[in-house]
Amino acid sequence: MKQQIEKLTASCLEQIKNAANRKELTDIKIGVLGKSGELTAILRNLKDLPAEQRPEAGKLVNEARERLESALSAKFEQLHDEEVAAKLASEKIDITIDKPHHDVGCLHPLNIVRNEIVDFFVTLGFIVTDSPEIETDYYNFEALNTPADHPARDVQDTFYINDHILLRSQTSTGQIRTMEKFKPPIKMISPGRVYRADDLDATHSPMFHQIEGLVVDKHITMCDLKGILDMFAQHFFDEKCKTRFRPSYFPFTEPSVEVDVSCNHCHGSGCRVCKGTGWIEILGAGMVNRNVLTNCNIDPDEYTGFAFGMGLERITNIIYNTDMRAIYENDIRFLKQFK
């Protein structure tokens, strides 16, 4: 009996080991453990044994059964894994091939930069306003403390529609429109297109974009202007970026300054980008002129403010090293570089 079981077990284990696939394994299983399997037959015959031998024999059968089942299950698993691996291997493709695909586009570099600037000021509590591109002389000049005979009008060659209507030459028009609409405290930026009679070259274009900024409240100081612009420069260029104020003149701010940032290419040692000066001019700014506040019915003795205006193309050119002509050419090879 014992020998019979051991022989059977050994023979089955050998068969299991050599089984080539799950079908063979299933046949082996049925042949030994099935209803009419060999081990089942032995078990069924146990009742013919003397009663005292039955427990011993039962135990042997059960042990054999467990061994076989465990071997079967291990082999099943092994064969399963092999089959899956073989199937996956057979399905392998060349992943280096590029099939025609769905491309994703991107924003124009001007708007990538614009969004980044806008986002920065929005987080500081600035609203974002739009204002007309075709404007009256009043909003573009008069209200900005630039009356008809003012020499500053010559600095920018303005496109006119007629004597009173023009293409705005600066987004500063947005200052007036905002102050007419809202009362202090005001924090706003106003991006948009502006127009000046300059021929297209590497740094000029008859149409370009500016972003205007304005803060009006009680006790606003020039140090606040410096603080905001420092924070902007550090956020936008790099953490070590410094700003520098140089005295300048705009009719609608007093005092007025040109603002330079330390060159982000050479960090101040002087290079081609900053023309060896270590500084790059990025915007004009100043404290809002009292006449401008008065024109907008804001009491200049109670409120002060600052304003700034930057050229989007200029900043885009600094960051991406682009050129004004490329910006408006819309060559797809150019546009794809900003994805």
Binding site: N111, F126, D149, F159, I161, N162, M207, D224, L335
Partner: protein, 797 residues
């Protein structure tokens, strides 16, 4: 403005500091130095030489061998020039010399004869006749015999000078002169500024001045005149010529040079009239309509009544502040000069100069503004120069005609007020010191500062102007960074419109479109290229009065023209497959000519180019973007002249037509030289771009599963799939949803002129599972309706 260091040094000592340091200091107080010009730039080791002997070259007809005395030696130079003779003084570039164009000169044999340098022409030294007569002659520059042999050419020609090219801001009219800059330099260096020489002797004259009258004091607040007799016209002395040349002016003769010199030095435009040409009187009046004058530039100008002239009894003598008349100017035989020093209103000079297209150094200064005191200073300085140059006798007759002289303004402020604006504390003594150095008079009482503004500072009006004066000298480096310490918090953010536009752009980018940027002004001929009808509203464009060119002449009412130009920029460079979009404004006038501001409509333009793209791709993009904003619309074939009539659609909403999409008309493609397979879309965003986030409501999900059904029909080709779907929807009722075309077939099994169209749809039960009969009832309704309406045959169920 060009400020020669030599000239500046006449008034404030600057020759002991480097020109770079001076430039930095000026930039620091608000005077941008655009360029530091060195007149001898690039010239090295070039000396004055004397030609001692000239021989023919033995082996070359066109070459000559010269023996040249260059001071320390006599050297051999071979030259091809033929304008030289023995005894001439010439510039000689010695071995190792450098010339402005970057060329280096080295000893080398020329056809076998060693040449130890090169004789130079004026152009090789980069100089012209303003530096020395003969510099523009073709050939070697022949120098005057007075030059010393062996001297460096830069010293000989005065080419060792520095000039600052300064951009003076529009508010600083007082700094448009050497003396004005000298005042600032004095303040920034803390040095004394010398007073100009105003000394002259007055001599009794036997004649009287013509009567001077001013018709309109608003246009000419002050006019003064002096007579100079016994004038001898001759060349100006070298020191004066040098200064004029360095500042960029040609010396002409002593009288003209004096007026130019004073203009540059004091900033006061002057005019010298030949007394012989003045008929009886001087009248400052507005011109008559169509009055004509030939100006000093020898051109005739047609004047009108808004322009101011200096006239005599019979004719205009000068366009006030702009340019003198040709015949009243100084001639070689002029003996008596009437010298004008006046103030003309800046707006009047500006308008006249613009209207006539005539600009001059004089008009440039008047436009910025000439102050009351400069009239006297300029005139007195000129008279002193007449005296100094012995150019004539200063007669004891003078005339002036003026309104009331202005009195200096006084601004009352305080150190606190100034400090509050700056955000840093600047103490009263520091403020006082700075303002005094700039010519202000400051008196302090209690905490108040009373500041008297000098007349030449017409730009200073209130305490903020004084604050600027203080901080530009106190130093902007002292401004700290603070972050709105006293301001109230505000809520910022984008407007709904701006957010929606950003969302829209994200969607378009995800469809593989790249954002383009094109100009808002266009060439009007685009409307012809687009075949737009003559009477179309699109042609109602706003025209720019002073366009740069026809390319940028009108404000666009459509974006597609500019987009097609961008397409051409690509396809002409063999970029043949791409998708672009732009969101920008179109400018729609309410009336023409424009009286009010026009509507500025935010508009989207899409363009797909290349053989890989088709109408349905564009349609998908359009339908997705309109769905995003919940726009309910219908489409119908477009009759727009610039799109293909069979492959394009108009987008109709309850609020009207909002745009179109489809294939470009082949003729338009040809007009713009772009590929025929170009698909365009334009949508006005105004009707939906301001909508807030949609009002969403949750509808409970159906408890019972929907049943899918397919139906295929054979219909005549003429019927549109969209119409059949509408009919299925209609017949199927509320329960029927998700109707879509899944196959369209024409071929062997289908009769010619017919097509098989197959649809799938869902039938959704409401509150119980549908029985087969109930389902079939809906399907039959649909079949019947489609068969009836489209004369369709059921092909498959």
């Amino acid at each position: 403005m060009k400020v020669p260091i030599l000239w500046l040094n006449d008034y404030v000592q600057v020759d002991d500091i480097s020109v770079e340091e001076l430039s930095d200091k000026l930039v620091g107080v608000g005077f941008e130095v655009e360029e530091i010009i060195y007149t001898g730039e690039g010239i090295e080791n070039v000396v004055v030489g004397k030609i001692l002997d000239i021989k023919k070259h033995p082996d070359a007809n066109k070459l000559q061998i010269c023996m040249v005395d260059v001071g320390k030696e006599i050297t051999t130079i071979v030259t091809g020039a033929d304008n030289i003779s023995v005894g001439n003084l010439v510039p000689v570039a010695l071995d190792g010399a450098k010339l402005p164009d970057g060329k280096e000169i080295h000893s080398a044999p020329l056809r076998g004869v060693m040449s130890y340098g090169m004789m130079c022409s004026g152009s090789e030294l980069n100089i012209d006749d303003t530096i020395i007569e003969g510099a523009e002659v073709h050939g070697i520059l022949i120098l005057p015999n007075t030059f010393e042999i062996g001297v460096d050419i830069k010293d000989a020609l005065g080419l060792n000078q520095y000039i600052l090219d300064i951009a003076v801001t529009a508010n600083r009219a007082d700094c448009q002169s050497v003396y004005g800059i000298a005042r600032e330099v004095g303040a920034v260096l803390g040095r004394k500024v010398k007073s100009p020489n105003f000394k002259y002797k007055i001599e009794p004259a036997a004649m009287t001045l013509p009567n001077v009258s001013v018709e309109n004091f608003d246009l000419c607040p002050r006019y003064t005149a002096r007579l100079i007799t016994d004038v001898t016209i001759e060349q100006s002395p070298k020191w004066m010529c040098d200064r004029l040349k360095l500042a960029g002016l040609h010396p002409i003769n002593n009288v003209v040079d004096i007026t130019n010199f004073v203009l540059l030095e004091m900033g006061q435009p002057l005019h010298a009239f030949d007394l012989r040409q003045i008929d009886s009187e001087i009248r400052v009046r507005t011109a008559f309509e169509n009055e004509k004058i030939v100006a000093l530039d020898e051109k005739e100008y047609n004047l009108n009544t808004s322009m101011l002239v200096i006239a005599d009894k019979s004719k205009p003598l000068a366009i006030a502040g702009v340019m003198g008349g040709q015949y009243s100017g100084i001639a070689s035989d002029t003996t008596t000069v009437l010298l004008e020093s006046a103030k003309f209103a800046r707006g009047s000079v500006r308008a006249t100069s613009r209207a006539l297209g005539l600009r001059s150094d004089s008009s440039a200064r008047y436009e910025r503004g000439v102050d009351w005191s400069s009239i006297d200073a300029g005139r007195e300085r000129a008279l002193a120069l007449f005296y100094q140059l012995k150019a004539g006798k200063i007669a004891d007759v003078a005339a002036q005609c003026e309104t009331k002289a202005p009195t200096p303004k006084t601004i009352v402020t305080s150190a606190k007020q100034i400090s509050d604006l700056l955000g840093i504390e600047v103490k009263a003594p520091a403020i006082t010191k700075i303002l005094k150095s700039l010519g202000f008079t400051v008196t302090q009482s209690d905490k108040k500062l009373s500041v008297e503004v000098p007349l030449f500072r017409e730009d200073v009006e209130n305490y903020t102007d004084l604050t600027e004066e203080v901080i530009r000298y106190y130093g902007y480096d002292n401004i700290r960074s603070t972050f709105l310490e006293n301001a109230k918090p505000t809520v910022g953010g984008l407007s709904q419109r701006q957010k929606n536009i950003n969302t829209l752009k994200t969607l378009l980018c995800s469809y593989g479109l790249y954002e383009a940027a094109t100009y808002s002004f266009i060439n009007e001929k685009q409307y012809n290229q687009l075949k737009i009808e003559k009477d179309s509203a699109l042609r109602q464009t706003i025209k720019i009065r002073n366009p740069l060119s026809v390319e940028y002449a009108v404000m666009r009412t459509q974006l597609v023209g500019s987009m097609l130009k961008a397409v051409y920029n690509n396809t002409s460079r063999k970029n043949n497959d791409f998708k672009l979009f732009e969101i920008s404004k179109t400018f729609i006038p309410n009336e023409l000519p424009l009286e009010n501001l026009p509507r500025e409509n935010e508009t989207l333009c899409i363009c797909l180019v290349g053989d890989n793209h088709n109408f349905y791709e564009l349609k998908e993009i359009v339908s997705q973007l309109l769905a995003m904003f919940d726009v309910k619309y219908k489409i119908q074939y477009s009759a727009r002249p610039y799109v293909h009539p069979g492959i394009s659609a108009e987008i109709l909403t309850d609020g009207g037509n909002i745009g179109y999409f489809g294939k470009l008309h082949p003729e338009v493609a040809e007009n713009f030289s772009v590929p025929e397979n170009t698909f365009v879309c334009e949508i006005t965003l105004e009707s939906f771009i301001d909508i807030k986030g949609r009002e969403k409501h949750y509808t409970p999900l159906p408890k019972f599963p929907a049943v899918n059904r397919d139906l295929a029909f054979v219909v005549e080709d003429k019927y549109l799939v969209g119409d059949i779907i509408d009919e299925i929807k209609n017949a199927g009722g509320n329960r029927c949803s998700d109707i879509s075309l899944f196959d369209i077939y024409k071929g062997s099994q289908i009769e010619d002129g017919f097509k098989s169209v197959a649809f799938s749809f869902k039938i959704q039960p409401e509150n119980k599972t549908l029985t087969d009969e109930e389902i079939q009832e809906v399907v039959n309704r649909i079949i019947d309706a489609v068969q009836e309406k489209f004369n369709a045959k059921l092909r498959l169920q």
